[in-house]
Amino acid sequence: MNVNALLMDERDNVVTCVADVPKGAQVVYKKQGELCCLTAEEDIPYCHKIALTAIPKGGEVIKYGESLGQTSEDIPAGHWVSHDNLFSVPRDYDSEMVKL
């Protein structure tokens, strides 16, 4: 099986597809050297993200081990994660400052 998606960090709940993946096809990615797969429940375009696990409405989408924002609806595993169901939340800059 050829790898057609990339996992950027072990903590991530999405992978990025590096080929067009039609509904019903297998998404194959590497995690800690092992091949993992899941079924695409809808068409996922090239460069786009697919949910590895169910992400509830208001949950965080994690890529690079960091939050990309919050979901605006429930996203079941195998579904497309995009700007249509994910939005950016304001930063809390003051809490990120260090004491001098």
Partner: protein
């Protein structure tokens, strides 16, 4: 590592030896274009401002104009003004001459009695300067003379996954050899600023990185604007980047992992050596303009969707890890990094290859945008670009 460059009396060495035909304001731009077209070795820029402006905008355009003139890739400067602009040609010339000993001459269109008379004088001056520039021999320069601007534009998901990490590796390798790099586009730190701040060499720099992002958002908010409305762009979204945070977390990887030693304002020249940040717009043309004004002698530019962009003074090397883009826009893309996505090469390996490619550009190899003579420019203003 060394390269063959043009040593300057002040500052870093040039990797090109242009005669720059520089307008003081928009009204001088067309005359500059005609002059540059008449003289081999001359380049012009098109300037969209310089007149009827508030003090802060004038300060920014003066920073860009003097910065371009002082850029190490410029041998000498022919300034063309109109006569009624905010800063006239002789004042701009004096400012530039206070910062550099390179040859600078200037003319005013109203003073000379129109564009044809100005063109005649300016072409003669540029021709003499180009003749002298051609006599300057290249000398071996240490790689520490390189100040590489790092930019991304037309990003898609391949940028953060592959091309930006590869360029980050390039940056680390160059910094380890003594060169300096500038990563800009502060609005594209937002969402990843806490990650970037971990690279700060001092707690002050840590807080400055956070503050730059806080200020940028506040600046746009004061004008009733939301930075998340313009970013990501429609092209970014189509390329799989869903939020500003996702774009930023990928963007910041192009700056590498070495300690951040300085955070510059737009178009400001560095005082430190190593990995440097500059607070600029995410708008790529404006960001490159600011880094060139800050003294970068080369720029590397990652893209996912593909872009033709180039700069008049500094070679812009465009790299993509999107195999489709490289195939479709091969006439505009310099380097194919798609092996990283295909899994046949690591980003570290491709970063090492980029060292040799940048070395070639320093030694004189033309980038594609440079060969086409592209000269994009966008000068930022009080209500900042996004």
């Amino acid at each position: 590592m060394q390269f063959w460059g043009y040593k300057r009396k002040e500052g870093r060495a040039g990797i090109r030896n242009h005669v720059l035909i520089l307008p003081t304001c928009a009204c001088g731009s067309e005359t500059c274009r005609v002059v540059a077209s008449q003289v081999r070795g001359a380049v012009n820029i098109v300037f969209n401002t310089g007149c009827s402006d508030v003090a802060a905008n004038t300060a920014m355009s003066q920073k860009v104009l003097t910065g371009f003139a002082c850029n190490p890739n410029v041998y000498g400067v022919v300034i063309i003004g109109l006569g009624c602009e905010t800063v006239p040609h002789d004042k701009l010339r004096e400012k530039i001459q206070a910062q550099t000993s390179k040859p600078v001459v200037s003319f005013g269109i109203q003073e000379e009695g129109g564009t044809l008379k100005t063109i005649e004088k300016a072409v003669r001056a540029a021709r003499e300067m180009a003749a002298q520039a051609a006599m300057q021999q290249k000398e071996l320069c240490d790689i520490s003379e390189l100040l590489l601007g790092i930019e991304c534009g037309g990003s898609d998901a391949t940028s953060g996954i592959a091309s930006n990490p590869a360029v980050g590796e390039l940056s680390d390798r160059l910094v380890d050899m003594g060169a300096s790099t500038i990563m800009s586009e502060s609005i594209e730190w937002i969402g990843g600023e806490h990650v970037l701040a971990k690279r700060a060499a001092t707690p002050e720099i840590h807080n400055r990185i956070i503050q730059v992002c806080k200020d940028y958002e506040a600046h746009l908010e004061a004008a009733g604007q939301d930075c998340r409305a313009g970013q990501p762009t429609p092209g970014n979204k189509a390329g799989g980047l869903s939020t500003l945070d996702e774009k930023s977390l990928g963007c910041i990887r192009k700056g590498g992992t070495r300690p951040v030693v300085e955070v510059l304002e737009q178009a400001e020249r560095p005082t430190k050596t190593g990995a440097i940040l500059m607070d600029t717009a995410g708008y790529d043309i404006s960001s490159v303009t600011s880094m060139v004004a800050g003294g970068c002698n080369a720029v590397i530019f990652t893209t996912g969707r593909g872009t033709p962009t180039g700069n008049a003074i500094v070679p812009v090397l465009k790299v993509t890890a999107n195999a489709r883009t490289y195939q479709k826009m091969g006439d505009n893309m310099d380097v194919d990094l798609s092996a990283i996505i295909a899994g046949t090469k690591t980003y570290q390996e491709m970063g090492a290859e980029l060292v040799d490619i940048i070395h070639d550009v320093c030694n004189g190899k033309l980038t594609k945008a440079e060969a086409y003579g592209f000269s994009d420019i966008a000068v930022d203003h009080v209500c900042r670009y996004v």
